[in-house]
Symmetry: C2
Subunit: 525 residues, 2 copies
């Protein structure tokens, strides 16, 4: 370039002015604080920011206040300086206060430079959403995750829940990006279903009958018939045991009028197979449900699953896809969420980033179930103690999975070809007739992260497997149709989305990695 006084090229890469958000009256704090120059080039600019006070303190005998403001766009807070002639300081310093302000960016005094990022000298308060500190439930900065579960509507304002929300968002977008990049189509499988994926698993029932019964009761109370006996009689007629159960049953059999006795899905797999058998590469990503009365740190009644399904793919392709997907997710977090991951390392799990780096850069170990059992038996013979007995045919317990991935290999492990007796009817029977082409991806910290299989595409074998499992054929006729007409070799897997977040963040309880946890006794909001 010629001597025109233009800024040097490296300066040009940083915009000197900063645009307001397109649809809100603020500049996100992230765009100020995450610039390569630490924001220095912005010094002197006037702009609007908004957010919630993390910490505030009056200084200089009440002449001004320092405030740490967070707007959720990143982990870091922007420091505000507010003088007493701009706002009554007592109103702006309380934790939880919402501030919408206009100010001028300035670098901190020279003695603090390097230690402290750019700060905003407030010139005008646009709006204050105040807080009564004596009533605010989250005034303290360190609260236990367990305590926060009683305040699901306010907990996103804490550093931890906000960081998890950003990591969860990043993993969801990474999921779509990965599958779209590889030509998969996103299919919305149904939530209300009349199919039961596994022929097992407790399902929630969906009904409108209870509404109906309550409506009739209200009606009767409003317009009472001649005598109380008549009311009782009428109620019995509508809501008595026989009526309700009989109606549910007949509805179930003969396609219900408003879907009484339908269920909440436990998996979108069987349904998404119908699209794989037409569009070749598809995936579903949605909520799934279990009505189990489980009170553990690993179970939710409502959780999200990612389930790709691939035509013209066998178990090898399936393992390749699962490995590529998990490694992509890990690399994505390292590329896009490093500040939040550093926070998790500092507060919860010093190995969280190391784990992501290891998984994103390591070829997953692959071994057959039979090899896995041999390794576990060797461990036992060398004195390793497991609570659950090891022998060919068992379902691997969590302790076995952790031994393989954390102790033996210190790496992600894919175990494949499981005994057919412990796996679902739709998994492809291997030529040995003893095992099926199933695979589980095991990772340190959470154990099983993914379960998948090649699907049985042979009509006769599939039908036999359904009967062998003691399941009725009728509900699976549509599934058998996929094998009856133009059957195709295909494979797929399911990733428990919350498990992936537990793995990434190092958080221990699954109730803390989903925005609104549902578990026995709790469905807040």
């Amino acid at each position: 370039m010629s001597d025109t006084g233009a800024p040097p090229v490296d300066k040009l890469t940083i915009s000197d002015t900063i645009p307001q958000s397109d649809f809100s009256q603020r500049v996100p704090i992230r765009t100020i604080l995450t610039r390569p120059d630490g924001g220095a080039a912005l010094s002197g600019q006037t702009l609007k920011v908004g957010g919630w006070v993390k910490k505030g303190r009056e200084q200089g005998k009440g002449t001004f206040a320092f405030i740490e403001l967070n707007d959720g766009s990143c982990q870091a807070n922007l420091q505000l300086i507010i003088y007493a002639d701009v706002a009554p300081l007592g109103q702006v310093v309380a934790t939880g206060t919402c501030l919408h302000v206009e100010g001028v960016l300035q670098m901190p005094p020279e003695d603090k430079q390097g230690k402290q990022a750019i700060e905003l000298k407030v010139v005008k308060i646009l709006e204050i959403g105040s807080v009564d500190p004596s009533k605010y439930p989250l005034p303290k900065t360190r609260l236990t995750l367990e305590f926060l579960r009683d305040y699901v509507h306010l907990r996103p304002r804490t550093n931890t829940i906000a960081a998890i929300a950003r990591i969860r968002n990043a993993l969801a977008y990474a999921t779509h990006t990965f599958f779209q990049k590889h030509g998969f189509l996103y299919v919305h499988t149904p939530i209300i279903t009349t199919s039961d994926c596994e022929g097992a698993g407790e399902m929630f029932q969906v009904t409108t009958l209870i509404n109906e019964a309550e409506k009739i009761e209200k009606e009767l109370i409003k317009n009472p018939p001649p005598s109380q006996e008549d009311v009782d009689l009428a109620k019995t007629d509508v809501k008595g045991k026989g009526e309700i159960v009989a109606k549910l049953k007949s509805d179930k059999a003969g396609k219900p009028e408003i879907m009484a006795a339908a269920f909440l899905t436990v998996s979108g797999q069987l349904q998404v197979e119908t699209f794989a058998c037409a569009l070749s590469s598809v995936y579903t990503f949605g909520p799934t449900f279990r009505a189990e009365n489980s009170h553990t740190s690993r179970h939710l009644a409502e959780f999200w699953m990612v389930e790709p399904e691939i035509a013209f793919a066998d178990i090898e392709d399936d393992m390749k896809c699962a490995e590529a997907y998990v490694r992509f997710l890990c690399q994505w977090l390292l590329d896009n969420c490093l500040d939040d991951m550093e926070f998790m390392v500092e507060k919860f799990d010093k190995n969280a980033i190391k784990r992501l780096q290891m998984v994103s850069s390591t070829n997953f170990v692959r071994l057959s179930y039979t090899e896995a059992v041999t390794i576990l038996e060797e461990a036992v013979s060398k004195g390793h103690k497991f609570e659950n007995k090891v022998e060919w045919g068992i379902d691997l317990a969590s302790e076995h999975e952790k031994y393989l991935t954390e102790v033996k290999f210190e790496s992600p492990v894919i175990v494949y070809n499981y005994p057919k007796g412990i796996k679902s009817f739709y998994m492809k029977l291997n030529p040995d007739k003893k095992t099926v082409a199933a695979m589980d991806v095991l990772v340190p910290k959470v154990g099983e992260l993914i379960g998948g299989s090649q699907r049985e595409e042979n009509y006769e074998v599939l039908k036999e497997r359904i009967l062998e499992m003691g399941l009725p054929l009728e509900p699976y006729e549509w599934y058998l149709d996929l094998r009856r007409y133009g059957t195709v070799k295909h494979s797929g897997f399911g990733l428990g989305f919350e498990r992936m977040i537990l793995f990434a963040t190092g958080i221990d309880n699954i109730r803390d990695v989903i925005p609104f946890p549902r578990y026995p006794g709790r469905a807040d909001l």
Copy 2:
């Protein structure tokens, strides 16, 4: 470049070899047929493809067959030529047959060039998934959409349902891309809920009690007590009207043990507001439910909604965001789904592409509800007939919305500031005390596509509005907390995802634009 014999630059932009899918044993047909050179540079390459036969016919007295193969990766079919020495032709020509083959790409004979794309001469059949044409439910090429609703598991194999699936996928990914690009975080709001967003609307109930009752019944049948009378007595005790209703009610009041008497969500808005009041810009995209007994072409019991929520944003910002989002979706389809859109134009709606072009390039008309009513009244005074009476205070009917967007302005229209009496309690009361800061986006073909509002952020006003609507305060205490502690000006909207697909494709019935439609009487699969 020097004379090294390197191909000219314009040739270099097209790869001469074509990679197989990463996770399946095929080259997607899209990557062969949608190249700028029409595939010419690929001539002579050997590769594998897989798909389903659309049409097949034996030729040359049974010496070879032409087959149109589709793998769902695009609307177009790849033509295969299979000679009788490669496969028994009778087995490969039936519509619906799945073929996985290896072959050599070749340009068609010179007299057909320009009319016909590159074709594949099959050298090896890898797998055949055959079809008995006398039994296959979809042998014909033109079937009505209504007929196909009885075959939701097979209908993705038809051109129309496949095109809609690709358009739906594109709109879903465009949605994530738009909001991520603008710094919004994706939040998974709950499906099972104890809140009722509107204080209205029929909700499905979720229960495990019916399971419990059935379990006990089975138990009694297996181990019968001494006499039949005892059985009846025991059953009555468990399942009688009083027991069931009383249990549901007590569970509802005192946080249910397994969430009996919880509901399926009608909207994620109230819950996602908790995240907007912490992370500033968020959105949710998930299934929502209505238990209404509606048998129309516009209603589903289960459908998907996109709901952004923006802090530090007023109704103006909200309209700006809604307009930008809808225009982005339209442009995305023009950029990414033109072949499928051309199919829709040919088969269903000759204006479909024009409509997308118009919306993507037009500034939306904005007018207040009061102005809208004046325009409608003027129309009436000039002799236009509406079925529903026009006067200030009415909820605009579909015919009114269509008049504004299709007749009066021939453009998308945003109507804002509706009478408070016809809108929800959470919408911000305007200074006139008569209207609220609500807005609806109206588009040709479907009418209302988006409904949104600035939310009431004033604690006292919101509380009063809840009471005014005759709603109880207790269930909304958490929602009031958002205004009690650090309240913030915020706005949001909801887009009915299926409505957007109806708008884009010109399809008339909503049951055809969702993979697995749920409506009264039907929850297939």
